[in-house]
């Protein structure tokens, strides 16, 4: 079964690379026409379905690749910077699939309403990043996951706990950046909808890794979800998060005191959630590594 998943992942990676190349040619055909508001035939419009199918395949590749990295790290002797970077790249690629869909959707709408489409400037670099990351993942699938860097048995998990903190920091920082954009472009957005959807999407990787961590905990034969050192670390980071989040929310309240019904009314929950997630994850990672 493991081998089937392994080879399927590599095949999905190869198909993803081909689909990104096809996307490039599709965009080369569509972009000039859309920018100049020329008519697009039904057949040309249908090409976007090819792009969508390619993105779905890439999404599956990202999920399987991340699962492989996480499974490898579960028994790894050490979480090296290379694997931490691989995790971050994987999470970013996964999230960028949703931004690809959103950008292409916006481009299509703006073309139909005769508006400019500055989103094209983002589509190309994001897809180039995804293309390069897919190559890196394929190389790792072929040569990167070596058994000699793993323990035979791990009765009580510590690595997936640390991986969850890494992903928490990435999702938290992206969520803070995404929510903060609302302060800079308050009129360009349907703030409530964008903030809600953006927050849910940005939490997906964290929810997935916490779900995986829970599944490990349910299988463990040892007592308790955490060991005594992890409880101490979580206690310290929880206290730090409690104090810092209170200061953060009071500052947010004070800074927006004269306009509490304005932009901040749509953003405060996302800002709070992602601030807490970032700080709590950072705290857990810091105290686990420090002692």
């Amino acid at each position: 079964m493991k081998k089937i998943v392994h080879y399927s992942t590599i095949v999905l990676g190869g198909v993803s690379l081909i689909s990104f190349i096809i996307d490039y040619f599709i965009f080369a055909e569509l972009r000039p026409k859309m920018i100049n508001f020329e008519a697009i035939s039904q057949n040309q419009e249908n090409l976007i379905l090819v792009v969508g199918a390619g993105l779905l395949i890439f999404l599956a590749f990202c999920l399987l690749s991340l699962l492989r990295v996480v499974q490898y790290l579960k028994k790894a002797k050490k979480i090296t910077p290379v694997y931490s970077l691989l995790l971050v790249l994987g999470v970013l690629c996964l999230l960028f699939v949703f931004s690809d869909v959103a950008l292409l959707n916006d481009i299509n709408k703006q073309y139909k309403f005769g508006l400019e489409q500055p989103e094209w400037l983002l589509v190309y670099p994001i897809m180039a990043f995804q293309f390069l990351t897919a190559i890196i993942f394929i190389v790792f699938h072929l040569f990167g996951f070596k058994k000699e860097n793993q323990f035979e048995d791990v009765a009580k998990d510590s690595n997936i706990f640390l991986v969850a903190q890494y992903i928490g920091i990435v999702c938290g920082l992206l969520g803070l950046a995404s929510a903060s954009l609302g302060f800079f472009f308050p009129r360009a957005w349907n703030l409530h909808m964008h903030t809600t959807i953006g927050s849910i999407v940005l939490l997906i990787p964290y929810i997935l890794i916490v779900g995986y961590w829970l599944s490990i905990k349910l299988k463990e034969k040892t007592r308790g979800w955490y060991d005594e050192k992890q409880i101490q670390d979580i206690g310290k980071s929880s206290f730090m998060t409690l104090v810092a989040s209170a200061v953060f929310m009071i500052s947010l309240f004070a800074a927006n005191y004269n306009n509490l019904n304005g932009v901040v009314s749509a953003l405060w929950l996302s800002l709070y959630l992602f601030f807490v997630l970032t700080l709590f994850s950072f705290g857990n990672l810091y105290f686990s590594r420090k002692d």
Binding site: F151, K156, S158, D227, E228
Partner: protein
């Protein structure tokens, strides 16, 4: 009030090596904690509970006070 200037130290590393060079991970598996916890105990950065100290001593068939002892900071 007297200032607490004592710290818990240990011979855990020595005991591991005297018992077939058992790894931190193997010891962690036997006492049901994470490898990082054993690492932190060995470095005297984390003081184990009495329960864990007894379990560790039991693995090495030693007394707790042979493995863990107090030193001045």
């Amino acid at each position: 009030m007297e200032k607490n200037n004592q710290q818990l130290a240990n011979n855990l590393r020595k005991y591991r090596f005297e018992h077939n060079e058992i790894t931190q991970q193997d010891l962690a598996n036997k006492v049901g904690v994470t490898r990082l916890t054993i690492h932190s105990i060995e470095k005297s950065k984390f003081s184990p509970s009495v329960f864990l100290a007894l379990k560790i001593a039991n693995i090495f068939k030693a007394k707790v006070e042979d493995i863990f002892y107090l030193i001045k900071k």
